[in-house]
Symmetry: C2
Amino acid sequence: MASKAEERRNALRATLIEKAEARIASDGLDQLRARDLAKDAGCSVGAIYNVFGDLNELAMAVNARTFQRLGSTVTASFAGKTIPPRDRLVIMSHAYLHFAEEHTLLWRALFDLKMSSDMAVPQWYLAELQAVFAHIAGPLAEIFPDWQPEKIGLMTRALFSAVHGIVLLGLEKRISAVPLDQIESMIALVLANVTSSK
Amino acid sequence: MASKAEERRNALRATLIEKAEARIASDGLDQLRARDLAKDAGCSVGAIYNVFGDLNELAMAVNARTFQRLGSTVTASFAGKTIPPRDRLVIMSHAYLHFAEEHTLLWRALFDLKMSSDMAVPQWYLAELQAVFAHIAGPLAEIFPDWQPEKIGLMTRALFSAVHGIVLLGLEKRISAVPLDQIESMIALVLANVTSSK
DNA sequence: GACTCCCGTGAACGGCGTTCAACATAGCGG
DNA sequence: CCGCTATGTTGAACGCCGTTCACGGGAGTC
């Protein structure tokens, strides 16, 4: 049976993801080195390539975890409470901001990784994204009951992108070190104006 | 006199910037190679390092040009015309979008370059950014004459970041290949709702 | 014409991701 | 319990990268 071998393989896979995540979290995706990783995981460099095709695949696996944790955090921010749709959008956005701020390098790795080259976008990626979009589209449909689904969809993506942009540039130190509560204000300001009925 | 030498040095500097820009525009910042560049410019690899400290400095010089052209494009989009402040914001944003779409790789290099490490943010960078902010703050002050300058400044940065985010994710193929006119609609949708008086 | 200084040159260096021939080991039929 | 094979593991080696530096040649000076 291959259970022994497969078990070790899965154990190594888990270890590699864990160590890679730690290294990305502390030093950034661009500082991930195969030799460092082998040392961290107590294996040889070649062993990495028996589990993952290349370092990108490993980084993808880390991103999958990060993305899921991000989704859970955003979902948990409003779950179980009864909150007006406008406030729900603000609370979710703030949850997104705080996740990005607390796990900046892991969060950045989600977008720094270039997967355009060869393979298609993985399934889990689109699934998580759709879940996030659904969380935004729901409140929007409540706020604008007369809007067509297409317009709701467009606004959903627009709002997600807008909040993402505010968080991205707000956390970027070189442009302007914006205090966290000011970034919160920016998000609230934009969302309040966008979602206020005319 | 050092005029002969200095002349050649400046000529090489200009050539290197030109060739580097061409290579970034066609292949992206991460495909910029010192050896390729030396071949393009007809010099040795070492000569590059007599003009620039490293390839980052050269990429910075390319970014400076790109940033100035971006600023000119956005400014020209509404110059000389008398346009209501709301429409001016939309027109500027669309000019930003089209510049990013037409010079995607050069535009992306503006943000991909990591200058956090050692040196301070260059002066031209902040100056150009302030010019862009001024173009946004003007219309905003017209639309919201009763807002405090601090709130105008916050909204200025928020709107810039939001539009940037919409353009960024809209042009990102992996998330969803959004047609250009849909990105325009998203920007218009957000700006219309943000700048509409309640 | 000789001397000096400076700058372009490209081979060399260290570090990277990735590969692969050599080796170790686990599973298995006898 | 013993070979035999097939699969997993290893780390030296490969090719490519940015960057450096000892060398050689050409310009400026007397």
